[in-house]
Structure formats: structure tokens, C-alpha cells
């Protein structure tokens, strides 16, 4: 068959996106749709209209995420299988947590979260080991540990969701309602954002820095669990019984996670910038990504955080309008969310329009972490307001 000019030219065209998808991509999409369909079929009758809308939005969002970021598909499938196994092992009571080997040592929410904690700490050490020993192999191990930790954490959240219903039928709620639960969410989300950039920029040198923050969060979770017994399941106060929580809180934590990541990349930036002056042949100046790349990751993370934090704050305002009777009350938590946004808006303008780059911006990103941290924790610890949940 003669090759026509036209068909030959076609060979150079960019392939339309759908044509680039593999069989696994389609299988993944089919599984997500089947899962969502099953939920509709099984629980549709008890879901209200907002829950229907949320689920209808989540399914395509998960598919899009999996198509865009291939590496996450395997993890999502693993989490699904582990969670389903736990749900199946539990049946209709919490008893099996004591008797079933798998639940007791692996996938009851408590065990999964303990695994997550251990894996994150191991990953932190391994990432730094990889950096200092200049070992690619150790780096790959660290990545695998981080992926596993995120999977266990997410499994812990999913299983705990089921456990709230098993504790008492009307206690059931998505487990992102108190400080203990959101710290786990924070660890998982920050790790996932990091893993995305790791794949995207093909560098594992930043892992230790970012995981340091996650390890701190894990330390807090452990202290909170063992010292304060915070892992118990309690029902929601009336104000939190709202579908808004399901979207407001995750959006917030994408913001917190991205800002934390930006700050840690800022730290890496400062280390490399210093190393380039002081010891250009040293570890930091040679092993860390170049300043341009660090600057780019920092900027990307801040834009991601800014976008989602804006959504979260707006969702918070919509929720407040429904629960407290006003979209804005200058409640300390609200106000600090605004402060965080204004701070990063100033950062973005400085960078974009004044063209500032380099160390001042990195310092500012690091300082931003403290503003963010105060909005996240300080407000609960030191200030009182309408956001009464999760006081320490």
C-alpha cells in the first residue's frame, strides 16, 4: 500500500489525548465507574442530593487524576482493595478487630495508621540516607516506603470511616472531623503532593526535607494517640454534620500540604544557595536540584496551595453561611485563612510582577509555613472562636 503524503504527515501530529491512554488507563476508569455505580445502586436511597453531586464529581476527578498522574493508579487500587478487605473482615461489628489477624496487625484503622507512621519515619531516614550516601537505590527504596505509607494512611482513613458506622449507626461520618483525623489527612496529602513532584521533576533529593514535616505530623499523631487517647471515635457535633465538610476540609489540607512542601523546598533552596557560595563541590551544591528547579517547584507548590486554599476558604464561607448564618464572621480561623491567602498573594505578586527570585522569596516561603501553621494549629490552641472542633 502506498504511503500517502497525508498519512505520513499524520504520523508527526500530536496524538489526541484519548489515543494516548493505555489499556490499564481504561481498566482503571472502568473500575472507578463501577465502584461509583455500585455505591449509587447500593446506597443511592439514603444519599441526599449533595452527596449524590459530590460522588458524581469525585468519580471523574479520580479518573482524571489517574490518567494525568499514572503512578497514583496502583496506589488507589491498593487502597481500595485493602479497605474493602477490612470492611469485609469487619462485617457488622467491631469485634473482629481483636480476633482477625489481618485487622489486628495490618488494616484496622489503628493498625494502618501505625504502619503509616512507621513507614513515613523510615522513609524520612532513607531519603536522607540516599542524599548523603548518593545512593539511587536507597532513593528508590525511600520512594517505595513513602508510597506505602501514603497507601496505609489512606487505607486507615477509609477503614476508620467504616468504623465510625460500626461504633454506632448514627455516629457515622467521614473521619476528617477532629485534630487527630486531620493530621493523618495532612500527612497523606503532603506525601502525595511530594510524590507527584518527585515523579514530575525526576529527583528524590527533596524527599527528606518534605518528609521531615510529615514526620513531625506523625510524631504529633503518636503523642496524641498514646498520651491523650485521641484516637477514639466520637460522634459529630451538630454544626459539623454537613456535606460541606467532605469538600471543605480536603481542599484546606491540599492547601496546607502544598504550602508546607513549598516551605521545605525553600529550605532546600537556601541550603543550596549557601552551598554554592561556600562549598560549590559539596553535597548540597551537587546533589540538590538546581536553584531554577527548586524555585520552580516552590512556585508551583504555592500556586497549587493558593488555588485550593482559595476554594477551601470560599467553601468555608458558603458553609458558614449555612451553619452560622453569615458567610463571613471574622472568626479567628476564617481570619487566619484570609491572612494566609493575603500572605501568599503578596508573595505571588512579588515574584510575578516585580520579578523577585532567589533567597528572599525562599525565606518568605519558609516564613509562610509559620503563618500556615498558626492558621492550622495555633488558632485552635491559642484562640477561641466558632471553629470549636479539635482544640488541644
Amino acid at each position: 500500500m502506498p504511503v500517502t503524503r497525508d498519512s505520513m504527515m499524520k504520523g508527526f501530529d500530536k496524538r489526541p489525548f484519548l489515543n494516548t491512554l493505555s489499556g490499564f488507563d481504561w481498566l482503571f476508569a472502568a473500575l472507578v465507574l463501577a465502584g461509583a455505580g455500585f455505591v449509587f445502586y447500593r446506597y443511592g436511597a439514603v444519599m441526599d442530593v449533595y452527596e449524590t453531586i459530590i460522588l458524581s464529581g469525585v468519580a471523574p476527578a479520580v479518573i482524571a487524576l489517574g490518567w494525568y498522574w499514572k503512578a497514583v493508579r496502583a496506589m488507589l487500587l491498593a487502597v481500595t482493595l485493602l479497605s474493602l478487605a477490612a470492611v469485609w473482615l469487619y462485617g457488622s461489628s467491631l469485634e473482629p478487630a481483636q480476633t482477625s489477624f489481618l485487622l489486628k496487625f495490618l488494616i484496622s484503622s489503628q493498625s494502618a495508621i501505625m504502619w503509616m507512621s512507621a513507614l513515613f519515619i523510615m522513609a524520612t531516614v532513607t531519603y536522607f540516607g540516599a542524599l548523603f550516601l548518593r545512593s539511587d537505590y536507597a532513593g528508590r527504596v525511600a520512594s517505595a516506603l513513602t508510597w506505602s505509607a501514603a497507601a496505609m494512611g489512606l487505607t486507615g482513613i477509609m477503614v476508620r470511616w467504616r468504623e465510625t458506622y460500626l461504633t454506632h449507626a448514627d455516629y457515622g461520618h467521614i473521619p476528617i472531623s477532629n485534630l487527630y483525623e486531620v493530621f493523618i489527612l495532612f500527612s497523606v496529602i503532603t506525601a502525595l503532593i511530594y510524590l507527584y513532584y518527585e515523579g514530575r521533576y525526576q529527583t528524590r533529593a527533596l524527599g527528606g526535607f518534605v518528609l521531615l514535616i510529615i514526620s513531625a505530623a506523625v510524631g504529633f499523631v503518636l503523642w496524641y494517640t498514646f498520651d491523650r487517647g485521641a484516637s477514639g471515635i466520637a460522634p459529630l457535633v451538630p454544626a459539623l454534620k454537613s456535606y460541606w465538610m467532605k469538600i471543605h476540609v480536603p481542599a484546606n489540607f491540599i492547601g496546607y500540604g502544598a504550602f508546607s512542601l513549598a516551605a521545605m523546598v525553600g529550605v532546600a533552596y537556601l541550603l543550596r544557595a549557601r552551598a554554592e557560595r561556600v562549598s560549590p563541590q559539596g553535597l548540597f551544591a551537587t546533589r540538590l536540584p538546581t536553584l531554577d528547579v527548586l524555585d520552580d517547584v516552590m512556585y508551583k507548590a504555592i500556586t497549587l496551595g493558593f488555588g485550593f486554599f482559595t476554594i477551601a476558604t470560599v467553601l468555608g464561607a458558603l458553609w458558614a453561611a449555612e451553619a452560622w448564618g453569615g458567610y463571613w464572621s471574622w472568626d479567628p480561623k476564617e481570619t487566619w485563612a484570609l491572612i494566609v491567602l493575603l500572605n501568599y498573594a503578596a508573595w505571588l505578586h512579588m515574584r510575578f510582577s516585580k520579578g523577585w527570585r532567589g533567597r528572599p522569596m525562599a525565606w518568605w516561603a519558609v516564613a509562610g509555613l509559620f503563618v500556615t501553621l498558626f492558621a492550622f494549629l495555633g488558632v485552635n490552641m491559642f484562640l477561641s472562636g466558632l471553629h470549636s472542633y479539635g482544640s488541644l
Binding site: M8, M9, F12, D13, K14, H168, D170, Y171, A234, P235, V237, P238, A239, K241, S242, D292, V293, D296, K300, T303, L304, F306, G307, T310, I311, V314, A317, L318, A321, E322, A323, W324, G325, G326, Y327, W328, W330, P332, T335, W336, L338, I339, L342, N343, A345, A346, H349, M350, S353, K354, V379, L383, S384, G385
Partner: protein, 660 residues
């Protein structure tokens, strides 16, 4: 000298330049952030007394004049906000038109020199005609999603390509969104109120008044455009106003309709934590032929003609309590009292009058169930709290449970007492009799004061003691009976503590320990005789062991009555539970504007970040037999990402040109 020739700028132009400048924008963003911090650190809109206590009179005045108690309505804060709005608007109006033009401009007039200056460039010479190259090039860029425009110049052709033109809309969306949000919020804020206050049209009411007593100057008419206030409505009651809290006082906002709370309910979880608060509301509106009904709960407000009514919380709405006041001193009979939560009663007692202030009533008290029970939690029944205030104004606070409470297997009537609100309650436990009442305890207590009975028992004990002694000396007998009476009298006024004091006052050190034991033993026998006298008449089938335990508990309770501090034990006999729903009513016409702004803002931000504008040019020039191509690209965001994309474009194009 170009600069000299330039016309002098007017003051207005300079001002506009300043207002739209990035420096001002960044300064304002940081300034708003900093001033917002103040309002979160200093609790806003507390009663002024609290601030005076906290800061002292001098700093109180300083902070007050800075408006720190209501930062977000302080003039200086509003000025900063206004600047931010103005600055953003000026920014949009200056940049907007340029950006809109930019969206449609392909810049096909760009010079070769400028193309070469870009970061991302490539050059080729190929042995094809410009037309063939142009066709291949356009096809290539098109397949990568670029929109194209071709311009033929005298000696060359430029293909201008662009992707993500909408990025510019992102800028507009974000910044217009910010302005729109601020304007909408301004409409709902209390700026008009502040103005009315400044011009003396309204005055904040700082006294505690009934709604009907509030003077006209502190009332806002029903047609007030925007407000947000609270009202607490007892079940069954109807109101047509709400209160707006403002600094150290309030304003009364009239409503264009009347709201009635028909019923208020709390649903509880198994552990007694509230699960939902619900109110059945009725609105009586002159414009509606029939009353409008709806049930609201937390997170499920009622939007009635733009007035939104929210379930906020609840309190007691004046439950009616029937109380039995059992005297704890003297032999007066029990009195029945009718009280109402939130109101007070004057009562006379032997040691001066008291005011009984009924504080709260709780229908349910869910506590963890004792170990071994088949459920985790149990409701231990209604309770109420009250204060007893004496003439000098000193008050003790009490918490009494209606039903007997189990403690170590026995039943008690329980009352907690404390002398300040931060302290824990200490509990008085009076043993409950077979019927679960206080009757037997009270009969026992009265028997201790009954001269005749006491005489008889004292003689009986004396007989018993002296029967064992050989000498029947009447003086010894007299001394013994006198001692017994004394001990009992001491016990009646101050329990065992008073008996111990008596021992310490009247006996030498070396005899005390032994004497005390003997006295207590004597007193114990006396009390027990009296108790047996009381319980003998009761009949029933109570075991001796039960009696002994009851007796011990009763003596213990009597022993601490002095510390209990109340002349009565108040027992709740009956009640009518009336709750009050706290509702918030808002009228916020700016809300839809604010939401529109939110939408613009979010869309704008995401477009701006994730839809970068990318431009590519190709300049084709025929030189001899070959076509020379200058290829270049630029972007306004994500230059690293674009560098990658450009490399891909370039490689693909190269391959395509080779294959041509």
C-alpha cells in the same frame, strides 16, 4: 531629549499610577493581613467591663480609641480595605484593556531580532518552498492545539501561534472577583450603621432592658437593608424583633413579620452528646393569608423571602419547677415552692432571708454507665441548678438531681454545692428511703431535735451504761445524761466536727484521745436509738443490715450539713420543661454579589495558574533555493514546563520537515 519633550503628567495621572502600582498592592495585602491579626488575638466585641479588667483604665481607653475592640469596623481598617479595592480596580482598569487586546493579538509583525532574543528558539534551512514549509508547520502547531494567524510581509511570512489566550481572562476574573466580593461584603457590613451612629440617628443601648422598653433611638426599622442578629425565643412565644450585638451594647432590629417557636427538640446520640437541635417555626406575615410553617435545624436554615433564620443553640426558656424545701435546721415543716428558671424567689430562714435564683434545668443527664451494665451510657434523670444568696450578697451554687442516684450499691438524693463557678461541685448524699424519698432521713433529723424523744433515749442509754457500774450515784447519772444531751446538741449544730471541738475545749490533752473515742461511741448509741425509734414505725421488710447502712449514711450526711450551707434541701417534685431556641436572623442582600465574586475569583485563579499563555512564531524567508525558518516561543508562566514543551515541538517539527 525625549524625557524633556514628554508632556508633564497631571496630578490625576500620577495618583492613578500610584493607586495601580504593584508596590502599593503588595503593601496593602500585607497591611490587611497584619491588621486582621489584631482582631484574632484580642477577643472582639466583649463587654467593656472585661476589657477594663484586663488592660486597666488607661490602656482600655487607648485601645478603645484605636477601635481595637471592633477592629473590622474600625475606621482605619475600613480605609485600608477601601484602598485595596480602589487599588485593585485601578489595576484592572489599567491592565484590563491591554490584556483583552493581547488575547487577540498574534504579534505577526514581530521582527526577526526579537524572535532571536527569546529563550526558546530554533533555526533551520530546508530545501522546500515556503508554502510547503508553512503548510507543514501549521499542521504541526495545530495538532498541538495552537491557534494560528499568518501574515505575509514583503519579503517574508510570519506564522503567529497562540495557546491559552484565556489566561488573560484569569487575571480579570481574579481581580474583578476580589473587587466584587469586597463590594458585596460592604453592602452587608455595618458601614451604614456606623454612619447612622456618627450622625446621631441611632444609639447603642447598653442597659439591660426588656424589648418593649428599648427607646426608639436604639431601634432599627424592619426595612433596614442588611442585618444579622440573635434572639432567644421560649417554646410557644412569638417575637417580631432580634438583637444586634454592637460593641458594649445592642440595637433592636424589628422584623417585618412575627416568628413563633412552636416546639424545640434536641436529639441525642447514645452518649448523650447532642446530635441535632430542631425548632418548629411559624411565621405570621401580614402579606400572607395563612401562617407559614417550617422546621429548621443546625445546617438547615429557613430562607423566608430573603430573611434567613438559623438554628444556633438553645437554653432554658423558663421551665416551671415545683420544689419541696425540706428544712435542714430546726423543726419547721416542708414547704412547697413554685419557681421558674431564670427567676428568683425570696425565702425566709432562721438565720436571715435568702434569695433563691433558679439557674437552669436539664431534662437529661447522660453519664457513662457503671461497669458491667449492658449499655455504655445511661440517663440519670433531670437536674436543676440554683443559687442561694444571703443578705450580704454572698451566694452558694447548687446542683440537685431529681431522682435518687446509685452510689456503691445504695441510693442517695444528691446535691452538689460550690462557692465559685470555677470550682468543682462537692456532693451531699442523703440516703433515700425505701420509697426513694427523703422522708425517713427527715424524720430521723427531726427526732434529734425532739426534746421528749431525746430525753427518753438519753435515759435509756444512761441506764444501760450505769447498769454495768456498781455505784448507782445520782450525780454520775446526772453528769452522764447532761453529757449525752450536750454531745447531741453539738452534733446537731455542727456534726462530728463540733463534737471533736468540744473534746478539745473541755478535756486535758492526755485524756483526749480516749475520751473522744468514748464520746463518739456514746453519741453513736444515742443516735442509733433515736433512729431505731423512727424506723420502728415504718414497717415493711427492710433488713437490719439495710437499716445499719442507712443509719451510717444518714449520720454521715447530718455530719456535713454545716458545710452544705443551705437551710433547705430542695427537692424537685415536678416540672414543666420549657426550652428556648436561639435563632439567628439575617438579611444579606449582598450575598449573591459576594458569591458571584467568589465564582470569578476561583475560576480566575485556576485559569491564571493552569492555563498559561504560550506563543510561538515561525518566520519563513526564501533565500536562494532554500527556506530559512526562525522558530521561537515564549510564555508568561511556567517557563520550565514550556521549555520542555518547546523542545518537543521543535524535535517533532524537525522530523516533519525532514520527511517533507
Amino acid at each position: 531629549m525625549n524625557t524633556l519633550a514628554r508632556p508633564r503628567r497631571t496630578a490625576g495621572a500620577i495618583l492613578l499610577e500610584f493607586l495601580g502600582s504593584m508596590n502599593l498592592a503588595i503593601t496593602l495585602l500585607v497591611a490587611v493581613a497584619f491588621s486582621s491579626v489584631i482582631g484574632t488575638i484580642l477577643k472582639q466585641n466583649e463587654p467593656y467591663q472585661d476589657y477594663i479588667l484586663k488592660f486597666g483604665p488607661f490602656w482600655f481607653e487607648v485601645y478603645k480609641s484605636l477601635g481595637l475592640y471592633d477592629v473590622y469596623s474600625a475606621t482605619w481598617f475600613l480605609v485600608i480595605m477601601t484602598f485595596l479595592i480602589v487599588s485593585t480596580s485601578v489595576c484592572v482598569s489599567r491592565n484590563g484593556p491591554r490584556m483583552l487586546r493581547d488575547m487577540r493579538a498574534y504579534r505577526e509583525d514581530t521582527a526577526e531580532r526579537s524572535l532571536r532574543a527569546f529563550h526558546n528558539t530554533a533555526e533551520w534551512s530546508v530545501a522546500h518552498t515556503p508554502d510547503a514549509v508553512r503548510e507543514a508547520l501549521m499542521r504541526h502547531l495545530h495538532s498541538y492545539g495552537y491557534r494560528l494567524r499568518v501574515k505575509e510581509h514583503a519579503d517574508h511570512t510570519v506564522v503567529g501561534a497562540m495557546k491559552g489566550a484565556a489566561n488573560r481572562l484569569g487575571y480579570l476574573g481574579t481581580h474583578i472577583g476580589v473587587v466584587v466580593v469586597c463590594l458585596g461584603a460592604l453592602l452587608d457590613g455595618n458601614l451604614p450603621l456606623k454612619f447612622a451612629e456618627l450622625t446621631g440617628k441611632v444609639r447603642v443601648e447598653t442597659r439591660q432592658l426588656l424589648a418593649t422598653e428599648v427607646p426608639a433611638i436604639s431601634r432599627l426599622p424592619a426595612d433596614n437593608a442588611s442585618f444579622r442578629g440573635l434572639v432567644s425565643i421560649p417554646e410557644g412565644a412569638t417575637v417580631n424583633y432580634i438583637g444586634l450585638k454592637l460593641r458594649d451594647g445592642f440595637l433592636l432590629q424589628e422584623l417585618p413579620f412575627e416568628v413563633q417557636v412552636k416546639d424545640f427538640r434536641i436529639e441525642q446520640y447514645a452518649n448523650g452528646q447532642p446530635k441535632s437541635f430542631e425548632s418548629d417555626l411559624v411565621i405570621y406575615d401580614k402579606d400572607e393569608p395563612v401562617p407559614q410553617k417550617q422546621t429548621i435545624s443546625v445546617n438547615h436554615p429557613w430562607n423566608y423571602k430573603g430573611y434567613v433564620i438559623y438554628m444556633v443553640s438553645f437554653s432554658d426558656g423558663g421551665s416551671k419547677l415545683q420544689l419541696q424545701a425540706w428544712p435542714l435546721a430546726g423543726a419547721a415543716p416542708m414547704q412547697t415552692l413554685q419557681g421558674e428558671v431564670g427567676k428568683s424567689l425570696k425565702l425566709a430562714a432562721a438565720d436571715g432571708p435568702r434569695t433563691l435564683e433558679l439557674g437552669d434545668f436539664r431534662l437529661y443527664n447522660v453519664k457513662p454507665a457503671p461497669a458491667g451494665a449492658d449499655k455504655q451510657f445511661q440517663d440519670i434523670g433531670p437536674s436543676f441548678t440554683f443559687k442561694l444568696r444571703d443578705e450580704s450578697g454572698v451566694a452558694l451554687e447548687y446542683e440537685n438531681y431529681m431522682q435518687p442516684q446509685e452510689h456503691e450499691g445504695r441510693e442517695y438524693l444528691v446535691s452538689g454545692v460550690r462557692d465559685n463557678p470555677d470550682a468543682e461541685f462537692t456532693y451531699l448524699r442523703i440516703p433515700a428511703d425505701t420509697a426513694g424519698g427523703i422522708g425517713r432521713f427527715m424524720r430521723f433529723r427531726v427526732a434529734l431535735l425532739d426534746g421528749q424523744k431525746v430525753q427518753a433515749v438519753v435515759q435509756k442509754i444512761a441506764n444501760r451504761q450505769l447498769a454495768a457500774s456498781p455505784a448507782q450515784n445520782p450525780r454520775v447519772r446526772q453528769a452522764l445524761t447532761a453529757l449525752l444531751e450536750k454531745l447531741l446538741a453539738r452534733f446537731n449544730t455542727g456534726g462530728f466536727e463540733a463534737v471533736t471541738e468540744y473534746v478539745q475545749q473541755n478535756l486535758p490533752q492526755e485524756q483526749r484521745a480516749e475520751a473522744a473515742r468514748f464520746y463518739v461511741e456514746l453519741l453513736h448509741q444515742t443516735l442509733r436509738e433515736l433512729y431505731d425509734g423512727v424506723s420502728a414505725g415504718e414497717g415493711g421488710s427492710i433488713t437490719q443490715a439495710d437499716h445499719s447502712r442507712f443509719f451510717d449514711d444518714a449520720v454521715n450526711a447530718l455530719g456535713v450539713l454545716r458545710d452544705y450551707g443551705s437551710p433547705w434541701f430542695l427537692q424537685l417534685a415536678d416540672f414543666q420543661h420549657i426550652q428556648a431556641a436561639s435563632l439567628q436572623v439575617t438579611h444579606a442582600p449582598g450575598k449573591s454579589i459576594v458569591y458571584l465574586g467568589f465564582g470569578l475569583l476561583i475560576m480566575g485563579v485556576f485559569i491564571m495558574f493552569y492555563l498559561p499563555q504560550r506563543r510561538v512564531w515561525a518566520m519563513l524567508r526564501q533565500e536562494g533555493g532554500v527556506t530559512r525558518i526562525v522558530f521561537a516561543g515564549s510564555t508568561n508562566r511556567d517557563s520550565l514546563g514550556f521549555a520542555r514543551d518547546f523542545a518537543e515541538l521543535r524535535t517533532g517539527l524537525e522530523a516533519r520537515l525532514k520527511a517533507l
